[in-house]
Assembly symmetry: C2
Homo-oligomer: 638 residues x 2
């Protein structure tokens, strides 16, 4: 079995150098386009004005055109009468000044005596209220240089200077070739509903990015992992493109053919880039065209595109690449990172008080939602081993900063009603965004203490008294004034497989040899609840198979059970219902939101509370099942 290894590893900076040389292979031709369709295109030559604008002397105001000299001497005390048609004519804004005249008197300053006569009470000076020919653009002057990307405004200047059609650079054509035997086309989604399959999505994401960057994407259909099939597809299609992207197959596996195919008919310049995600990227040339092997994991594919393909397209179009808006942030916790690799960490960002905090999202390069949920990207340079908790750094924003400022940052326990809440909060205008991070109830209370969130969601039972939340608030948040808004009561229980194939009856059965449990993480309210229940039943946790396997959300527990990886886990009824699983009730618990009084008056917090109190929210929560909303939205005093 032939295996690849990364023989031509490069740092990201070295790879960027390679790319800037590869860009030299792309030579874009010119093509004519009508001016009215030229927005976003790049001029292929300097454009000189064909006509002046305005093209003649014209009235800048509605009024009468006169010869200024004929008005001299007119004053308030000694008005002058002029004869319409004899040296006076009515003009509207934009209309030519008749020959022999050189000034306009505003209609407001003209008193019409009768159809033949007008009276004026002030003299006009030459060229008053006249836009002289070429005031805006003089014929022959350069309106736009070569290599200029045309904006909407520019269309106005081009039409005004007499252009109807102009010469622009052709768009760089980008062949996108997805490979992988395990993939199906999006059109096959419905057909595959009963036999789950992985949908090829990278090519469509790259296609959109190429369009955004002014290129012309050409998507090839999926090619199976087969040396000769991929080679054949490439040989058949490359001619119509200026740049080739092959997706997947550039890693080091036995079915990773990209490298050997390029070596067959071209040259590999770099293979393996010290970036994360995005390491298995390959840079080469193929029949005088740049070719880039894009990794198959979705986040890797996007990072490889943005760091290496995008600069190539901008270079080919000869445009300056605009950077993203950056803001200063503090990480909410220590973030270690691998020395020698540039890491692109996806983060959520929220402003709490006068500081912005970044919370890392999952780092896996297969997790596309780490990008779609991200507010920004935090680059950790290759020479850094990561960031300390209080180390200020920069985040490149993926969203308008206005959205970040309108985001409520919530940290704490996970609950399914939070999605409903987030959705409803966006319905009013301007929208308020809810960004919630599942770190468990205890994590939420600690985040409040550190001042890195606006509010925390808790369902913490005191093992000794059975009281919810207040004992923890008193204990952990001493000296901090907080307000407590009750969200819901909800049912916790054992989430088990549909139709209960193993005949479970309650927590006692967890001790059975044939039962594999899936647990929640330490510090989560559900874990604390479980441990209290086990203690009451005198069950020793170490005797439960799977007790040490932890997940972070109710849905992850339900999903683990649904997949057959476990037989049971403790979680909320709504999660069981969502995954179509069975449920054995264990306890009813109180879930509250805790807000420092300091933030309580802020509009976004008030909007959140108003939404919680709305009938619409309560109705939607009830539809999920397993919730009691009879006291939802009440402020609790302790």
């Amino acid at each position: 079995m032939k295996r690849n290894i990364y023989l031509k590893k490069k740092s990201l900076d070295e790879a960027k150098e390679v790319v800037s040389k590869m860009a030299g292979l792309i030579r874009l031709g010119k093509e004519p386009v009508p001016v009215v369709q030229a927005v976003g295109r790049v001029t292929a030559e300097p454009l000189f004005a064909k006509t002046s604008s305005p093209p003649f002397h014209c009235a800048a105001m509605d009024g009468i055109a006169v010869r200024a000299e004929s008005t001299y001497g007119a004053t308030e005390d000694a008005p002058k009468t002029l004869l319409v048609g004899k040296g006076v004519s009515f003009v509207n804004t934009g209309h030519p000044i008749p020959p022999g005249m050189n000034a306009v008197i505003m209609i407001e300053d003209v008193h019409q005596i009768d159809p033949e006569r007008v009276e004026i009470r002030e003299a006009a000076h030459p060229w008053q209220h006249v836009r002289s020919v070429g005031e805006d653009i003089v014929a022959t002057e350069m309106v736009f240089p070569e290599n200029h990307k045309l904006t909407s405004y520019d269309i106005g200047a081009l039409l005004a200077s007499g252009h109807r059609e102009i010469s622009v650079k052709k768009k760089p054509r980008v062949l996108i070739l997805p490979t992988g035997s395990e993939l199906i086309e999006p059109e096959e989604i419905l057909l595959s509903e009963h036999s789950p399959a992985i949908v090829e999505s990278n090519s469509y994401v790259l296609r959109s990015l190429v369009l955004e960057d002014g290129g012309e994407p050409i998507r090839h259909s999926i090619v199976k992992d087969d040396f000769s099939k991929i080679r054949e597809a490439l040989l058949k299609s490359y001619r119509e493109s200026d740049l080739v992207l092959i997706i997947a197959g550039s890693s080091a596996g036995s079915e990773d053919y990209t490298r050997s195919i390029i070596e067959e008919d071209g040259e590999v310049h770099a293979h393996g880039i010290s970036m994360m995600p995005g390491k298995p990227t390959l840079l080469g040339s193929y029949k005088d065209r740049p070719i880039i092997g894009i990794p198959g994991y979705p986040v890797s594919a996007i990072m490889a595109y943005e760091e290496l393909v995008r600069p190539l397209l901008y270079r080919a179009l000869h445009l300056t690449r605009p950077g993203r808006h950056k803001i200063h942030v503090l990480p909410i916790r220590k973030i270690p990172s691998k020395l020698g690799t540039e890491e692109f960490l996806r983060v959520n960002v929220g402003r709490v008080g006068n500081k912005c905090f970044a919370s890392p999202l999952p780092r896996g390069s297969g997790i596309i939602t780490s990008l779609t949920k991200a507010d920004g990207i935090l680059r950790i340079p290759s020479l850094s081993e990561g960031l300390d908790e209080n180390e200020e750094t920069e985040v490149e924003l993926l969203k308008p900063v206005e959205e970040i400022l309108n985001t409520v940052l919530m940290v704490g326990s996970h609950d399914l009603t939070l999605d409903l809440l987030a959705n409803l909060m966006r319905k009013e205008y301007p929208p308020i965004f809810l960004s919630s991070h599942s770190v468990g109830s205890l994590g939420g209370i600690l985040a409040l203490k550190s001042g890195i969130c606006h509010l925390a969601g808790l369902h913490l039972i005191d093992p000794d008294t059975g009281e919810y939340n207040f004992p923890y608030i008193k204990n952990y948040l001493e000296g901090m004034e907080v307000r407590v808004i009750h969200l819901v009561h909800r049912e916790q229980g054992l989430i088990i497989r549909r139709k209960n194939p193993k005949g479970l009856k309650g927590l006692g059965d967890l001790l059975r040899e044939d039962i594999l449990f899936i647990n929640r993480q330490k510090g989560s309210g559900t874990r604390i609840l479980l441990d209290r229940e086990l203690r009451d039943l005198s069950i020793d946790p170490v005797q439960i198979h799977g007790y040490e396997q932890e997940e972070f959300t109710h849905m992850a527990v339900a999903s683990t059970v649904a997949s057959g990886m476990a037989d049971a886990g403790l979680g909320i009824l709504s999660a069981a219902r969502a995954m179509n699983l069975d449920f054995i009730p264990v306890a009813k618990e109180r879930y509250d939101l805790v807000v420092p009084s300091f933030y309580f008056g802020e509009e976004k917090i008030q909007r959140l509370i108003a939404t919680i109190r709305s009938e619409e929210f309560k109705e939607e929560v009830l539809r999920l099942g397993g919730y009691d909303v009879s006291r939802t939205g009440e402020e609790l005093n302790f």
Copy 2:
């Protein structure tokens, strides 16, 4: 004659309130779109995952799938042999884990003994290198809420969660109705070459802006200034739209019908907004639709669109409107502004040293190039009377900040070769931009002294010695170390009408009664040259007709002569040639660039000098005519 007056004047803030109420009239329906075409569209409902991603447990690495328990005990010293097919199967990244197996061992760690046997030297732990079902997205979870604008990334998450088609908001349809009897359609440009006319361009600019903002523009053809024709067009077309924009005719002239037409079939909410440009804007409702009367001047039209129409579209789509990137600037001079009016001043911005400076562009609302040449917009609030020279303020950038940082800011005398230079400097990559401001040679030297530019262009003759530039540098820039790069020698002379209809022979003829002169502004090198020549000829300037009429550039002087507004002006040969005029030589002069030594080493300055010294530049300059490039690019010592 019926005349309008602004009866419902509003401040810009009041107008924005009106607009936000008008937005309530727009109710966008839903429509299905394929996910792969959904970028930029706005979700019409929350989207829940139809499948999990990954949809099954799959290999996260290329290697062998095993049951972890079967590997226990394997070490470097005691390797374990496993049988392919019997509890071991080869898997590639993304492929499903066969039933009964629960871990993957990387191919790099597998030693294949023969086709039937593999050897491992380390035990696997359960779920090692396995992506478990739902690791990224769990079926039934909310992938995107309602009112979410889909990005390229989002396409990936939608496909991965089993969506093939989704429901999005319909685009707001915007009817754009241009009016004006003086206008021609862009298609008529060629036909009109011999009878100059004003091309209707506003509708195409607005059309592009509507597209940028996610709307669906519907452009109507030009309608003449005629009450019944405009009313008829509106009645015929409004039904197909969610919002109507009528361009022009909303001012206070006799042919401004927008207001009376709306009053006939709808309601006017505001007419006359305290903004500049953009005052004659009208807000109303027409048959249950918002209608906006957009002023006819191009900059006014754009400002009215951006301040009032854009927020309406964002409101209708329920999206947060992203602001522009802002930077802090110092104005290069005092900028007075009208109290009670919010002004949108178009400015160029450049960073000189560690400060950014803003130079105002022409303020006329008819000057579209004041927007196309602008780097940003400086808002002067309605309660301000303007800005002082050293009053720091903010500019909203229209260009990437990267371009601003790569801009050489030049202030001083105007010359036609500067356009060529600017064009050539952009040809290399990354492009360097040259922003030049014509304020005359003396203005340039004063700008250098104030530190608000990187370099100045001078052609200043010492009236006493006839020496160029050095005496002024010594006199005005005492104590400042500068370097002087020679640009060109050029011919100055009288620019006169073609075929010299008035038989001019030289400066002496300027005293003639029938000759109207057009002058350059005080402080310009050309003006100083003229005054010196007149002194040598003992001509008293006050006896020259038109001596007090000033223009700021050679092209403006040539254009004035070409239009018949003057018989002669002093200027350079290339300007006369560009406008196809005749020329009577007067003097040959030296034009130099002066750079403070402090900036001389900067890359952008060095790139400028290298471009000046290139053969390409010299050849292009010679093609203009009237230039001597024999010493172009030399550094001059004094």
